[in-house]
């Protein structure tokens, strides 16, 4: 969907933290994408390569971790992970489910390179 907007936001956040931590450059970004978030890693990567050029994040690596959606059955209290959507609770077949995980798009951490001398 709106991967460009999301990728720009990613670049701003990563650059902000990198500069704050006196990084020389950013090596990699660890990103968590929930299965329900509708964000396509390949598209983010595509935009990333373009917009990170000539920034502190140039040539950095995007490392994606996908996490499956997790639902809580409101009828029997069972919580379960599921691949597809709109499936009933495997325990009691109720459709009264609450999403408890799966719509995240998080920047977990960045790996940066620092100049040793500068640090000392």
């Amino acid at each position: 969907m709106h991967e460009l907007a999301v990728t720009e936001s990613l670049l701003n956040t990563a650059s902000e933290y990198a500069i704050k931590n006196n990084a020389q450059k950013v090596i990699s970004l660890n990103i968590t994408i929930g299965d329900l978030s509708n964000i396509i890693g390949d598209s983010v990567q595509f935009y990333w390569d373009m917009i990170s050029e000539e920034t502190i994040c140039e040539n950095s690596l995007l490392v994606f971790k996908r996490i499956p959606a997790k639902f809580l059955c409101q009828a029997c209290g069972n919580d379960f992970e599921i691949q597809g959507e709109l499936l009933p609770c495997p325990k009691c077949s109720s459709m009264d489910l609450k999403t408890i995980r799966g719509d995240e798009f998080l920047l977990e951490s960045i790996e940066i390179e620092k100049d040793l001398e500068e640090k000392e």
Binding site: F105, E111, E113, K114
Partner: protein
């Protein structure tokens, strides 16, 4: 050189959410109820807004923010004809409104004495789902000709709404639309969501939607 890992754990859509919270606080402060109207193109967003204005404008003051991808003022002109303050936001091809665009929009409107602000999002069932604008309530307008499978194909947008309108029910005799299948999908995604099957053309069912909106307006005062 020294490699270090910097923990961040930040939601990437956070910047938008923050502005959305500020917008919401602004509306709340001014006693304005803000509604975000989302739907696919052609489901009847503008028709519903026009008809809602017709039903409500004698008892409250309404303003409208129109989101459009192209700089055509077709929708905004229709609303302007009713002497309702309206501002059009051209997203320049972007597939959704975001909180900053909405802020830039409402800051150009005279909101003195306004009770209700209706934000018509860009016609799209995917992207608007991820961007809060500062609304108090989000609604989706589905319609009979779109088909009964939309909740299954675009689940995210149905999850975060407080009210669902099913428009064009006057067309039901001519379209294969399985109401049970549609409702089952909705119930799975958003159990107990307020549901208003109606027709903007015949007015059937419209009163229930207006009453829901009136209740929310009353709670807001």
């Amino acid at each position: 050189m020294n490699k270090t890992t910097i923990p961040i754990v930040k939601n990437i859509l956070n910047a938008n959410d923050q502005i959305a919270e500020e917008n919401k606080a602004f509306f709340t402060n001014k006693n304005i109820l803000a509604i975000n109207v989302m739907a696919s193109p052609g489901s009847g967003k503008t028709s519903l807004i026009l008809k809602t204005i017709e039903h409500l404008s004698h008892e409250c003051n309404i303003a409208v923010i129109e989101g459009d991808t192209a700089p055509v003022t077709i929708d905004a002109d229709k609303i302007s004809e009713l002497n309702i303050p309206v501002i059009q936001i051209n997203t320049g091809g972007e597939c959704h409104l975001d909180a900053l665009m909405v802020r830039n929009g409402f800051s150009q409107l005279d909101l003195t004495n306004v009770d209700l602000i209706i934000i018509e999002n860009v016609g799209n069932l995917v992207c608007p789902a991820a961007f809060h604008l500062g609304e108090h309530f989000s609604i989706v307008i589905a319609s009979i000709p779109e088909g009964d499978d939309k909740p299954y194909k675009y689940p995210n947008i149905y999850r975060r709404i407080q009210s669902l309108i099913l428009n064009k029910i006057d067309l039901q005799p001519y379209v294969d639309f399985d109401m049970d299948y549609f409702r089952k999908g909705i119930e799975a995604l958003n159990p107990g969501v307020s549901f208003f099957p109606l027709s903007c053309k015949t007015d059937e069912g419209f009163e229930d939607w207006i009453n829901w909106l009136k209740d929310k307006l009353q709670d807001n005062n």
